[in-house]
């Protein structure tokens, strides 16, 4: 097992004093699904947004510690954030399709990265749609507006869109929170396929989903990392009382 991401003593506070992280240290292995779970306001999304520096858009009061991806500290202000974000795909809780066609959504990131060859773009569209298990449903209408897709299809399109850039890491922030069980199943199944190639970090929308998908799981509570370990053992035999209480539904 190789650690793709090494988080060392990461602390962060927003200017408005809301959610924050306190001294998080965590090693995330490559080519596996790592689940960050816990009650709302625990810092899961904040941590995700640190990984692709999306927090740069938010006002952060103070941040300390480091995040090493392949040994490189990505919190370094001199790092090329654009290049970083191309290496790290992100899927948000609400499916946000850009006001473009289906294929326009998929090629957006590549075109920004300077890819002009039609063949390469078409290839990326087909490959990413297949990976996200959406190809069969949309192959005949790639030029239709993406908004015409159903909610579940939109979310798989968002997944495909992040895959089109061939990232190394995929961040998913409650990607199935607005989806019906069938669509949720499709997304989860896609993740199980994807983890063969990609490092996946998932904030699930329920403990059940955490249990179903996690190779590794980290339990967050009020900005602290309470417990971290292999999914199987953490969900069946948690070491911490607080983890057990949450998993068994006694709070949260």
């Amino acid at each position: 097992m190789v650690d793709k991401i090494v988080i060392e003593n990461l602390s962060l506070q927003y200017s408005d004093g809301t959610e924050s992280l306190r001294g998080i240290s965590l090693n995330i292995p490559e080519k596996a699904v790592t689940v960050l779970f816990g009650p709302a306001g625990g810092g899961k999304s904040t941590l995700l947004r640190c990984l692709n520096r999306l927090n740069d858009l938010t006002e952060v009061k103070a941040a300390s510690g480091q995040i090493l991806i392949d040994g490189q500290n990505i919190l370094d202000p001199n790092i090329d954030v654009i290049a970083l974000r191309r290496r790290i795909g992100m899927v948000f809780a609400r499916p946000v399709v850009l006001p473009l066609s289906i294929s326009g959504n998929l090629t957006y990131g590549l075109e920004l990265a300077g890819e002009k060859r039609r063949s390469k773009l078409d290839e990326a569209v087909e490959r990413s749609l297949k990976l996200a298990a959406l190809w069969e449903e949309v192959r005949d209408r790639l030029d239709d507006p993406a908004i015409a897709l159903s909610g579940g299809q939109q979310q798989r399109l968002c997944l495909a869109r992040s895959l089109a850039l061939q990232p190394e890491i995929i961040l998913l922030d409650e990607p199935t929170s607005g989806l019906d069980p069938i669509s949720t199943g499709k997304v989860e199944a896609a993740l199980q396929e994807l983890k063969k190639e990609y490092t996946i970090i998932l904030v699930p929308h329920s403990v059940q989903q955490a249990g179903r998908t996690a190779d590794y799981a980290a339990f967050f509570l009020q900005g602290e990392l309470v417990e971290y370990g292999e999914g199987k053992s953490l969900f069946t035999a948690p070491k911490q009382k607080r983890t057990e209480d949450y998993i068994t539904g006694r709070f949260g």
């Binding site: 692709n52 999306l54 858009l57 654009i82 290049a83 974000r85 191309r86 795909g89 992100m90 948000f92 609400r94 946000v96 850009l98 006001p99 957006y108 990131g109 920004l112 990265a113 507006p145 908004i147 968002c158 869109r161 992040s162 850039l165």
Partner: protein, 287 residues
Amino acid sequence: MKRALPINRHLAQRTGFTIISLMAFATVVPIIAVVIYILIQGLPAISWEFLTGFPHNGMRAGGILPAIIGTIYLTIGTAIFSVPLGIAAAIYLSEYAADTPLTRTIRIAIINLAGIPSVVYGLFGLGLFVIFLNFGTSILAASLTLSIMTLPVIISTAEESLRSVPQAFRTVSISLGATRWQTIRRIVLKEALPGILTGVILGLERAAGETAPILFTGAAFFLPRLPHSPLDATMALPYHLFVISTQVPEMPIKIQYGTALVLLVFVLSMNLIATVIRSRARARRQW
């Protein structure tokens, strides 16, 4: 004891509705009345010669071509200065500026700029463009003056339509490796464009119909020929209307209303274009 029937409340509600719809109707009546009145009075004056000829016989006969052309020049001139500047300012305020005392001051200034009487703009234009910058009484000076007057309208409507583009589009675009500017150019501007265009047209429409700002800066009482360069003065519809209504004795009333009709059609057709753009964009909008 008898209970009061609820019918009274219905009556009150119905009365309220009636009053409100009467008021709504009352606001429309004057607009329609003006248009119909100008149409009836002005239509007899409209002819090919009226639209394409020069005034003669001390403006008591002939056409209003130089005034029509002048107003078109002034509108284009105003657009050249105010549209790029206004949109750039709106992009800065909506997409880049943080909420600081400076940007708050800029916003307050823009709001106040919109409230300044147009004759004050005229006087300012006279001082700055005509005299200090030595542009003379010219299309250039008048266009710049009208631009300053139009800017607040363009900036505030453009900023509003930029802000109405969902924040999530920006976040997603950035997360896909776009820079801020790429996000603005490829997503935000594209979505906000119909709203921006509407604001631009409404602003220019106001400029086209104004008299006071061009009075001292570019409008000519009478010119025997069309302007040749931006440094020439020009006739313009609103000012021409003012002139023939107040400054020329024994003016045939038909020509006054004909001129008013042409100005009205010019401004209303810009309005119509804005409305069409807006409703088309609404129908096509994906959020």
